[in-house]
Symmetry: D2
């Protein structure tokens, strides 16, 4: 049951990095939505490795093939199957990984859990799995667009370099103008140079993605266990290398008192709004119509090119040195994945909300 | 479907702050577990208001009555129904809240979502709902004890006062020796005084709960969407006032490179272990046998005693001044709730893991 | 997860026949529905033993107490908790059952499955559990009434005595005029006398409940695994003693050819209807606006008053003779339970259907 | 959520009759099971049209391609994606169906529900969808074989011709020796000739599949809503054209009294067994170790070759005459589908049962 995400709108994903491909089934997608295939492919391209000098040089074509559920350009309400074929299934690159457990990868935990392990490049635990999320997210975005909801994520920190201001201080239209996907061009340049340096060392670095949702209808989210923030957190923490989630003021707001942090209501020309937005657009687990924003921290990718200590399958101490290409910083590519998970969550909750009253 | 938590082990909760009581049904609890009723009540007592001068003075007896699923002192495998009756259902304290939306409460979002609102003291959005979690968590803890799993949470930050060290630096046996539930007696005193001062101002303050899980079997958690950290994050962010979740190094580790943050394996007298634990005991979404630890941030409680601006049900600007008692700092009482959510999550994943191989 | 029924609208039930009571939580019930408490109680009364000479003489008051989710007479959208307290928990009647497995009861299978058994009168496997269904069904019926959906069930067979005609041949308003709940007064009298004779023998007899749903909107049901008939079948076969389910022409239609059984469409004054209704109102798993009808077979109750062979807990052959009261025919009391399961299923599918298109 | 079947073991299916193919994702399949690909293909061949003169002459190759979850011949515990490509996607055969609603098909109900319809040969409501079930069932059977569980189904009725005896009277090894899949060679011949005659008339005929499960462990099934018979009924009624389900004595046993129908226990050389098996191997919703058996009725296929009355998309009365090939009797091909649904259900419940006790 754990390769599925969502309740009414539900993505079930399959596939390994070195199997035939990565795919999924999107169930519960509303009928009658016009699907822009170019947009779906553009979203996949944003996730794809090899887009710039600061990501992995590994080449993946990542063309999506839809298998069902779309007829004459529109969703039919039937499950939408899809696959992105793996072009390069040569797994000999990974032969040296067959006999050892790579540090901070899932090799060891998978082996203990399943008693069997697909050792070709991470198998199911590979970040290639996120392809299925980006496809589903691209469809969800198209449905949300009809509802006036816009989701935008960007890189707000790379290692020690970070944007100090809240999202309102930046021009989000600048995000896609640089390879780091950062709306501050000066910081973007700094980040890019930093990543390039890290790459040269054969090392990796983490950072933060910030995500903003504008135009969310009031009333999405369920009280108690299905709070909107709980669903968003679950989606974000399910992304490879994600280590933390905070929304609204998050950790930063802890020094403020309640009297400072409460978002008082006022009548804004006939519409009830809040004067501040410490809550991050969610109160009692339910969207209140203000902007929703949250931050997701990603650790450095575990694959580094220097020699590391580890053990082999028999538990004997040994060393491992990864060969070939590596991804020095996952942040730019994590941006569309964060957006995709948010889009699926919001569309799901929008559909659920329609069952609230007769 | 959103008043349920868990997959195999599933708590479904019900009840409002000023209705008849708070209760729930625990389905999927393993048969044959001896239930220590005193332990359950002790856990409820840890959550109860009025334990000390720094929590709300509101008195709640909070005696649990089990309704089914336990026979001759043991769980039968049948659903365990329970209720904690509300002793004080006088809702006249809340009459002044009937006509206004309290800032940073769920009043407004509930009203828009449902078209109807139980205005008596928060209704379903009240933190009294967490009673059901503590009861279910207390049962889960008893099952986990048989498996050698121990879950311990503590207050690690109150407003600006915080523990600077990782959990390994403290004697966790000291947690329950002070009303703040902080393992550092000096900091505990500081926190206590700070809360007392905030209380006198009629204001509130937030903070952080840190949670440590020792003895977790290797292999719990599901790859992809059911990663152990995703389930923990979802559980934690479903608690009232929770704003952030991080596990392992979380936000703090972002300045480190991959080569510094990887947890290398070594053979520790025949057992495969990691030399460091930046991963927080979870790799690829699955427990690796090391300690699991995470932190949850809680914002200040929204109910403050000073006058605040807001709007009434007609959207007209007005002011509101809460009367009576308030809870200056939710942290000490959040500690058992965090443990309860962690216990339910772990037991659920333990049961799921048993279906992995024939 | 198996003490829950439904998807969006979900009943989670708890309780044993000789525990404190039978109750449940109804989650996902739409907000703003006015709840007629007298109607709920009247439905419970229809299920209650001791209504006439042909049911068990066991007296059960069966007053429902709602615990949450209803405010000022209306549903709030929050979970509706409820309990019917067991008035007579004296389990000494059942002491002779502690040491043996009663034939065709769940005693043996529960013991093997759980390793522990609540031997007091069936425990969780008792038909008293259906109380929770009748309560939830009574609420669902009130929501469905707003949508113009009417659900009516009746006894159509008792042992060898059966109604030969389809439901259209009878005046369904006569159902509640006799204790058997049969719309044919002559057959009802025959059935009543037959049951009375069986009761005198200390024996039991089974039969069939027929259910008709009028006014169902077009479009309820989901293709493939969530076909409306599959959900109805699952609900009906989850009732104690139910052995079979058929809808539309069911088994009876097998001798007809496709050309005879197809329901051709025609334009009935601007509305698309079918000339016949062999399909029973469902095509491709989805309601087509015609009457839905189905039949459920119930075996004779397993508790008979004559001596029976069996084994004790050690597997040693022995005999058992039940004492006291028994229920000679479950059919009259099964009628409201069948209606309740149908009502929950339909309301659930109505809510789901609202998520089909944006 | 309705294109998924099962709880722990969960098949999510996709695909339309004239889209790219029919496929699915099998989640929760236990790790380490050796997969015999020839067996999977053999099962698909049993379902395939064109096997004999009495089924549709439509040719479908139906080769399965696995996409993930199997490594070096064994299941890995990761989701198993698969697809059977549609070889013949020419939908011009169906152009005359674009403008009308075929009687007793899902055309009309799909159109009302979704507002859009894939009119090419039934689209999602086509029986080709059952391919995904047969693939998943073939895997489940291989896991069940390790547990000693054997599932066998056969045709027990075709139109008016039926086997009068219970399954114990027949040699089940004879089932696959004739195209009807009937264990009584004489009746099989009669049935075959009857179908051939019906086929010549351009008409169709229904019948009954009987299914027997031997070697089922004691304890599978969940009390209350997850009774084993409820899950089996749900699975069976989700198959296209299925109209009825009965297990054990079903409708036939209604004339017997409780004293006649109870299955008394006895000690059979140290094993607790029942002397009779009216219960069909399930008591209180849980398997008791005796053979499980049930019957599923299938109506005649709706596609007949004679002219039929209907309406067009505008609701105007018209006639329709299907061209080309048709399937006179679905029974022989339904046999492997019934087995597949039973296999998935049993394996799922076996896995769930492992969570019952610590």
């Amino acid at each position: 049951m754990f390769n599925s995400f969502g309740n009414i709108l539900r993505l079930t994903s399959f596939g390994e990095s070195h199997g035939k491909g990565i795919g999924g089934v999107i169930d519960g997608f509303p009928a009658g939505i016009r699907i822009d295939m170019d947009f779906v492919q553009a979203e996949l391209n944003r996730r794809r490795p090899g887009q710039s000098l600061i990501t992995t040089a590994r080449k993946e074509g990542d063309k999506v093939e839809f298998l069902s559920g779309i007829f004459e350009g529109k969703s039919t309400g039937c499950p939408i199957g899809f696959i992105v074929w793996n072009e390069n299934q040569h797994s000999n690159d990974y032969d040296n990984m067959k006999e050892v457990y790579r540090p901070s990868h899932a090799d060891y935990t998978y082996k203990v859990k399943y008693g069997i392990r697909d050792y070709r490049g991470g198998g199911r635990s590979s970040a290639r799995e996120t392809i299925s999320r980006v496809v589903a997210g691209a469809l969800a975005k198209q449905a949300l667009r009809q509802l006036g909801v816009r989701i935008t994520a960007y890189t707000s920190q790379v290692g020690p370099i970070r944007l100090e201001e809240n999202y309102t201080a930046y021009d989000l239209d600048l995000i896609e103008t640089n390879p780091v996907r950062c709306p501050d061009p000066v910081k973007a340049k700094e980040m890019e140079e930093f990543i390039f340096k890290i790459k040269g060392e054969g090392d990796t670095i983490g950072g933060v993605v910030t995500c903003v949702i504008k135009g969310c209808p009031i009333g999405l989210g369920q009280p108690v266990f299905g709070k909107l923030q709980a669903a968003l957190a679950s989606g974000m923490l399910s992304i490879n290398a994600a280590k933390a989630f905070e929304y609204g003021d998050g950790f930063k707001g802890l020094k403020q008192k309640g009297s400072e942090q409460n978002d008082v209501f006022f009548n804004n020309c006939g519409r009830i709004e809040t004067k501040t937005n410490h809550s991050g657009g969610i109160q009692g687990g339910i969207s209140n119509g203000q902007d929703i924003f949250f931050r997701v921290a990603f650790k450095p990718v575990a694959t580094v090119l220097m020699e590391q200590h580890t053990v082999n399958l028999d538990g004997v101490d040994t060393t491992l040195k990864a060969r070939g290409r590596h991804d020095p910083c996952v942040l730019p590519r994590a941006v569309p994945i964060v957006e995709a998970m948010a889009a699926m969550t919001l569309l799901d909750f929008y559909l659920i909300d329609r069952t609230t009253q007769l």
